[in-house]
């Protein structure tokens, strides 16, 4: 359904995302994980056609045969919010502070041709569907009157309004408390048609998705069924990231990845992870391709 082929994103001379390819089938829930600066959010924004000014995407991406990259804004506008929609990390900045919740939920439907009265009626249903208590009262409220968790539910209601084929969530629960996060994750897993879920939290992705894509330095370094990738990571970065995510008992050393994530444009040539990789050899100066069927990885010296 969603088909991404050789997607690259660049800002002037700096390549921020390079040659990313993946697919998402109907009903599939796919996680995209990576640390800050890995290019995961840019990948999502380029699919939505929402890249900041001065940042451009090239390569191919299509949803059900309709191109998403390199097409005029006019055509994207018809798809965005209807066939694919997105939930952002910070609901306070994504919602209009001067508009009542109900009107904001209805707006995305009227923009795509639903009649005003119908849209408002459906807004209540949507608010109910994302399990907001007293949907009629919430519809009259302004964003600042809601809690962070409630605002994020409103964002989800807006995203679901036109029954999209694909829902993209970018760190939707990072700003939330853990107990609220759990409710939100359960809800997303339940209502998402097909899902691209972006996060830096491996445990979160494991609780929502079936398949995972691991990004580092703007490249896809590993992908596959989540259980397989997490139980038996092949790329050395995935291996290190998983090890670093486990908190060992007190008094023991935590496993770490040496150094820190380089700034954009300062990743090494060849394998992007080689300056932090304990297994790097001169071979790694040549970029490895992402290979493998089902469980794929881009590493010259994969873990066993």
């Amino acid at each position: 359904m969603l088909k991404v082929e050789g997607l690259s994103v660049r800002a002037d001379a700096v390549e921020l995302v390079r040659d990313v390819s993946f697919e998402i089938g109907p009903g599939e829930r796919v996680g995209l994980i990576g640390e800050s600066g890995s290019g995961k959010s840019l990948t999502a924004l380029s699919l939505m056609g929402l890249l900041p000014e001065g940042v451009t995407a090239s390569g191919g991406a299509s949803l059900d045969g309709r191109d998403l990259v390199g097409v005029p804004e006019k055509r994207l506008k018809r798809l965005r919010g209807r066939d694919l929609s997105m939930v952002f990390q910070e609901p306070m900045t994504a919602l209009n502070p001067l508009m009542r919740i109900g009107a904001q939920v209805a707006e995305v439907m009227t923009l795509h041709g639903t009649a005003g009265r119908q849209a408002h009626a459906r807004a209540y249903e949507l608010l109910e569907r994302v399990r907001l208590p007293e949907p009629r009262q919430i519809a009259r409220a302004y964003p600042h009157q809601l809690s962070g968790g409630q605002r994020q539910r409103v964002m989800l209601a807006i995203a679901l309004a036109n029954e999209p084929q694909l829902l993209i969530c970018d760190e939707p629960t990072t700003a939330l408390d853990v107990t609220v996060q759990k409710q939100m994750l359960d809800l997303i897993a339940e209502v998402a048609p097909a899902l691209l879920f972006i996060t830096h939290d491996l445990a979160v992705v494991a609780s929502v998705c079936e398949r995972v894509l691991v990004m580092y330095g703007g490249r896809l370094v590993e992908s596959g069924p989540i259980r397989e990738v997490f139980a038996r990571p092949r790329h050395r970065y995935t291996e290190g990231l998983l090890a670093a995510s486990k908190l060992t008992p007190r008094g023991t050393r935590l496993p770490t990845i040496q150094g820190s994530v380089p700034a954009a444009g300062h990743f090494p040539g060849g394998c992007v992870f080689r300056n932090r990789c304990p297994h790097a050899t001169p071979d790694c100066e040549t970029a490895p391709a992402l290979t493998g069927d089902g469980h794929a990885y881009a590493c010259w010296h994969p873990a066993d």
Binding site: T179, V180, A206, L242, L247, R250, S260
Partner: protein, 266 residues
């Protein structure tokens, strides 16, 4: 630092802090918010004490009181046998020398216009202590090259900035290090580096650590004792392994169940 053996290092009794919401009427006062409600705790010398809670639980208010950055509405805190509540700032020098803080976001806690050398030396200058070689020593202790002293915060990554913040906190040789969510703004791959560093420093320097976090699993790795906060109260406290294995309070159970884990998968 003078020691009063036998007494706890930090002893907080019946702390209550009431804030007033901004008034919405000319004739009435704003509503009162009980941010902290009758909270008592004791922290022993050399203890690693974790405070866990979600936003709005009162953990930041408690922390501000323990650091004497704010005063309680009622209740008292003693530090090494000396009361720190109800005292003017000028007579809190003993506390400022002995208790230092590392904040959550190293980008906003480090002045972007100061060089690392001046940032790290600032507590010494403020307290009128000799600077001497101390900056180089501290940078070495936190694993930064000596050349870092001449650079500005923006030239460092998040993890390195947190190292700078730790170096600054250690400058006056405090007895207590208070860390407020020190790793929540960091990437997973560097989180371990900072937690390892904190553990090493606490061991080497014999520090008492007060560690605030929303993440009970991080606290379990770092601390011996934990206090779980909810709605302005400590709902459960005890050795962290016991609280983790057999949470007594329903809220702690909810909190534990809500934390997503990788364990089932690996």
């Amino acid at each position: 630092m003078p020691t009063h053996a036998g007494t706890p290092l930090i002893d907080a009794r019946n702390l209550t802090r009431v804030y007033r919401r901004p008034r919405t009427s000319l004739t009435k006062q704003g509503a009162a918010v009980h941010a902290l409600n009758d909270v008592s705790l004791t922290i022993g010398r050399g203890e690693r004490y974790g405070i866990v809670g979600e936003s709005g639980s009162g953990k930041s208010t408690l922390l501000r009181l323990l650091c004497a950055l704010d005063q309680p509405t009622s209740g008292t805190i003693t530090f090494d046998g000396r009361q720190i509540t109800g005292r003017p700032e000028r007579s809190l020098r003993f506390l400022r020398e002995n208790l230092q803080i590392v904040f959550q976001d190293p980008m906003s806690s480090l002045d972007p216009r100061m060089r690392v050398r001046d940032l790290v030396a600032e507590p010494l200058v403020a307290l009128g202590l000799p600077v001497g070689n101390r900056v180089a020593e501290l940078l070495d202790e936190v694993g930064l090259p000596a050349a870092a002293a001449d650079r500005y915060p923006h030239q460092f990554s998040g993890g390195q900035r947190q190292r700078i913040a730790i170096a600054r906190a250690l400058a006056p040789r405090p007895a207590v290090l208070v860390a407020d969510e020190p790793v929540s703004a960091l990437d997973v791959s560097v989180r371990g580096q900072i937690l390892n560093l904190l553990a090493d420093l606490v061991d080497e320097l014999g520090l008492t650590l007060v560690f605030v976090s929303h993440d009970l699993s991080v606290v379990r790795h770092v601390c011996e004792t934990v206090a779980v906060m909810s709605q302005g109260e400590i709902v459960e406290t005890g050795p962290v392994d016991e609280v983790w294995a057999a949470p007594a309070h329903p809220y702690t159970r909810t909190l534990l169940q809500a934390v997503p884990t990788l364990e089932g998968l690996l």
